[in-house]
Symmetry: none
Subunit: 118 residues, 2 copies
DNA sequence: ACGGCGCGTTCACATCTTCTTCACGTCGGG
DNA sequence: CCCGACGTGAAGAAGATGTGAACGCGCCGT
């Protein structure tokens, strides 16, 4: 079988093969459900950018996010859990309160430089 | 307030993506709250100019600044803290007593000649 | 047909953030 | 010395997000 060069996105140690519906974490395959996969792809295609829940819902679910629907949050949680399980110490999905989520690989226990001013 | 204009503003090492709600400091993403972000955008769109609190409030909060309301001051403080944390040694928000605030990148050193050259 | 399962959705509650407002400290001018 | 303007930290309420669990559903092997 050919491994087509179709769509292959690399985010840190993640290798996402959109065509095949496969995700490799440091070479080892992850087991994601369809929703989890679509959500990851949606985020990956906008890596580094903040994607609003509305946009995410449109991209991964296809439709309009209804007011009060928390599906995105729930799935971001599931996805985070699997990514954390596969690549401990790495944080991929960042929350931007009031804006949305952003995919960007970073060590979890960072240095306390900027953001946290509490 | 508004957060949606397809703009990309650059102020020194800051890259503000108004549409996205994202701010990059030397390439690294900052974590700002909606208000902090709107305030920064308001200042950035008037970079180099002094913006009165009334104007700032109108731009970032959307409404009229009530007498005695210190929200602007408080948020300028929060914003300064995060900017300082992200880009130490740089001063972006300058206070003009009795007039307002002005956004302009400058080394936060004791130098303070006439104006920030321009 | 039956029972077990994985999946997606929705709840209810736990936590964390954000916003506003207050209180007090500092500085400089009159 | 008094006062207005601004800096700064904190308290409380409101709002946003994190999280575990219950439910219903379709699929699959038996």
């Amino acid at each position: 079988m050919e491994t087509g060069h179709g769509e292959l996105v690399r985010i840190g140690d993640l290798e996402i093969r959109a065509r095949e519906g496969l995700v490799l974490a440091s070479g080892r395959a992850l087991t994601l459900s369809v929703r989890e996969f679509d959500l990851l792809v949606a985020l990956a295609r906008n890596a580094g950018r903040i994607v609003s829940r509305e946009e995410l819902y449109r991209l991964a679910w296809g439709g309009t996010l209804r007011h009060g629907d928390r599906s995105c949050d729930v799935y971001v949680h599931k996805l985070r859990a699997k990514l954390e399980g596969a690549l401990p110490g790495m944080q991929f999905i960042h929350t931007h309160v009031g804006f949305g989520y952003r995919l960007d690989p970073a060590p979890s226990h960072p240095f306390h430089t900027a953001a946290t001013g509490r």
